[in-house]
Symmetry: C2
Subunit: 551 residues, 2 copies
């Protein structure tokens, strides 16, 4: 048996080597023949953004309230006409509510109302996706992402009258305007407050049937808005932050898009961009930028994301039947499974220690999560999807070792990571119990449906199990419940988690949400969290793909 | 005698009425026939600004030092190469020194130096004409002019690499750059720090002879720079603040210009603009704006400034012989003396109470200054110059009452305001002793040379006398000393006052300077004072007009 495994591994490594050693004397670039065309085609597919001018719908105040989300409650506070018709020097400060989450460009007009303007004006503008961003002091700043992501801008307006346009693209529902400097010798009013909202989505899909649960309808609506806001010239992770294409977000967004806006060209553009901006050795980079020209975040390698690229490509082909694109990108998919081959031991177990040294393993924003089982699971999951993709392209001969490898790794997982007494998967030397481990083992199909159900049921009963840290892993949780035939649980968990956000006032779904800690932040400062985050939009996918379960 | 005066006044009022009652059925506008042409011609004369790209000459630190101007000493602190070649994330903050006062536009380039930029950057930029502006916290703001004049800008740079251009025109020598927000995932450098300096002055006049006192040469140089910086598309009062045309500044700038840059077209443009933007009843407005189109500061009437318009026009004609312009604007000059006629009593005294109700009387930034004597003096002074102007234009018949009025008012001044025992002029019901009163009486020629000398000598010996508050009145002080034949005192006072600023490091002369209180501010906050202020440039005029005295 051992020698059989050894020969299998050797064969796999040989395959991998064959793929990388394209006989090209000019460059080390494994995709040299295709790379330029990928980027060119991606750029050709760059969508035109649709613009809609939005106006604030009201003036609000935001007051402390321990029962409100993050401790801040929004209350109506006077009407817009009063704000527009009166001296802003008298008002000094206002919070405007646009009534929905918007991504785009803010502007307003300043006009003298008494005497001749004789000096510049100074304003602080604060843009918030959620109320707490408006009310929480940002400084001294304690977060560990750039302070510049926070959407407060201080502006000087030298000449009045003026129409002020904030050049920075913003993502917000609320805008606070504070007057920081004015002259005692003239007065002025603010008018024409406007937000040029942008998205590559133009039309919404048909609403759900009238008879569907109100909460499901609300979740679907908020999910659609979340996805719409993130669909710009790429699938962004979040329009406030980081405003760029990540493979992990792309995967979930493309799933939701397939069951809603069906803008498959955006998926294609993103798949091509990522391929075109990959490393010379063929490794995908987890995130890429569009400006000033498309370029990768050099060195940003996430193994789980690289593997999900293959899954995304397979789903894209499923949805579109676009064989040409899938064939062109097949070489990329084949490349992404090589790290599995490099990391898998003779015993069929991924070398977790080595993987953590060579890669960023993401899976979830959850402190202390041991990712050994998740890595094993996602590797099997991705190998299976890649093999399905190969079959769809008639390329299974090129990866013919996959089925045996999947079997080996699945068996190893059961042997090494499954606590058969408790019916759950453990992870790491401390035998950590987490949702993540169950989820990825279920999705990998390591267990049969009954075992999957048992594992997911057991973990839910265990108070010590590490819960999902955020919506990204929660997506896979719902997926794993469905896969295990736990449809009612899937629905109640979806309603429980995303419905909770809706009840707390979400206009769009959040990057991070822990029902027990509304101020949790992977970046040590809740206002820098993204409150419109792509990976949180997938209720749209579940509700519309599985109407029998959710509608 | 009384009846003679009464009839004189009656005659004068009649003249005034005649002048205002132009038989025009279409409008109340007394200049209707000329107004449009004045503005059109002023706009035609709008100068093209010359641009010079300037680079910082060094890195400095600014440290507390009780002996330095306003308590802040500038010290060299490392070289530019080190600043440019090293991570700015490591440096966090820098103060750049351009080595001279500049007016214009600031820019710099941001380039990644390590890893891929993944987040925006946030900076605070602080621009200072003098060191204290860089070091003094601005908030909580206590000044009474708009906080927005202070030159601190907070900017967010969304994409790196970038060349950042601050759209606001700035006036400064020092620039502090503070990093407020950056990402732990990349590093960057600053390069190409640049200042596009603008002025309508292109070439400097010949320097003074080599043999001239070093300090006189320095004062002349700083004065020329002050004037150059203020000469933009109008004679501005100060390029930092208020950046606009005021009649009082125009007068002093045009004097200095006449003996240096000789850009008489700028003087002409300003005289025409002020005329074109005057009130419909013919009254000049003390200050006008150029943007978005030329317009006055409605209701801003300064009697002393209105009167100085006539003096400026007379000087312009002296310098250029441009009879056409002077003839066209003569109607304006004639209008400006009407308020004197309206305010002068039968006894030849200006009604000071009435004047203060109807006008802003400026004269000086000096708290508590009683302006009765100054008003009487400047009125006589302006009447005399207006009459000289009339004679140059052959129009003396139109203002033939002036000589008698001057005599009456001069006599009244001597009778009512002169303390013959002390040999000085007093002002107001409290018989206030001030330099201002002596200066304006001397310039009015109320006293003969010996008496003038006596008054100016006596005031200088009186510890209780109110000193000039700033360079504006100091100009008239030097002028009055020269007029009184006190040439040595004029020189020593000029060197004492402006030379003191030079010794304290002035690159340009200041709006306000009290040798005994370097933090004095008419606006309750020294950093908002202008440190390049037109009205402080007149040593250029004195030194170059009176070489025998000053060189």
């Amino acid at each position: 048996m051992r020698s059989k495994i050894k020969s299998l591994i050797t064969a796999l490594i040989a395959t991998a080597l064959t793929v990388t050693s394209i006989p090209d004397l000019h460059a080390q670039d494994v995709y040299q023949a295709s790379r330029k065309a990928w980027v060119t085609e991606a750029e050709r597919l760059k969508p035109t953004l649709h613009q809609i001018e939005k106006k604030p719908i009201g003036i609000v105040s935001i007051v402390p309230d321990s029962k409100a989300f993050q401790g801040w409650k929004v209350k109506a506070a006077g009407d817009l006409a009063k704000f527009y018709n009166n001296s802003f020097k008298q008002q000094q400060s206002v919070i405007l509510d646009f009534g929905e989450h918007l991504t785009g460009y803010f502007s307003f007009t300043l006009s003298p109302s008494e005497r001749t303007p004789d000096a510049p004006l100074k304003f602080k503008l604060t843009f918030g996706e959620v109320p707490s961003e408006i009310m929480t002091p940002y400084d001294p700043y304690k977060g560990d992402l750039s302070r510049a992501w926070l959407q407060d801008e201080i502006i000087t307006v030298m000449d009045i009258p003026a129409t002020v346009k904030i050049s920075r693209r913003l993502a917000c529902r609320y805008v606070k305007i504070d007057l920081l400097g004015s002259s005692q010798y003239f007065d002025f009013k603010i008018s024409n407050v406007s937000f040029k909202s942008v998205s590559s989505v133009k039309d919404f899909p048909a609403p759900l049937n009238q008879g569907v649960d109100t909460m499901i309808k609300k979740i679907d609506f908020v999910g659609l808005n979340t996805l719409k806001e993130c669909m710009q010239t790429v699938y962004e992770d979040g329009p406030k932050r980081d405003r760029r294409l990540w493979i992990g977000d792309l995967y979930l967004e493309s799933l939701a898009n397939a069951y809603s806006f069906k803008n498959h060209d955006l998926t294609k553009r993103c798949l091509l961009l990522l391929a075109g901006l990959s490393d010379a050795d063929g490794k995908l980079v987890g995130t890429v930028f569009e400006s000033p020209e498309p370029h990768p975040q050099v060195g940003q390698h996430l193994l789980d994301y690289s593997l999900l690229y293959n899954v995304t490509l397979k789903e894209y082909l499923d949805q579109t039947g676009d064989q040409a694109t899938a064939r062109s990108l097949w070489q990329v998919a084949k490349k992404q499974i090589e790290p599995i081959i490099g990391l898998v031991g003779k015993d069929g177990m991924m070398d977790y220690q080595k993987a953590t040294k060579e890669w960023w393993l993401f899976f979830d924003w959850k402190e202390g999560l041991d990712k050994q089982a998740s890595l094993q699971g996602i590797s099997i999951f991705a190998l299976k999807r890649t093999y399905e993709l190969a079959k769809m392209l008639g390329k299974e001969q090129e990866v013919k070792e996959i089925p045996a490898l999947v079997a080996l790794m699945s068996k190893a997982a059961k042997q090494n990571l499954f606590d058969s007494k408790a019916g759950v998967f453990i992870s790491g030397s401390d035998r950590q119990l987490s949702y993540a481990s169950q989820i990825w083992m279920v999705l990998a199909g390591v267990t049969n449906t009954a075992q999957s159900k048992e594992a997911l049921t057991a973990i839910a009963k265990n108070d010590k199990a590490l819960l999902p840290g955020g919506p990204y892993l929660y997506h896979y949780y719902i997926e794993s419940l469905i896969k295990s035939g736990m449809n009612e649980t899937a629905k109640s968990k979806l309603v429980g988690y995303w419905g909770d956000m809706v009840e707390k006032g979400a206009d769009t779904f959040w990057e991070v949400y822990d029902p027990k800690d509304e101020l949790v932040s992977p970046y040590k400062f809740a206002p820098i969290n993204s409150y419109c985050h792509a990976w949180s939009c997938t209720p749209v996918y579940f509700i519309r793909k599985y109407p029998n379960i959710f509608q």
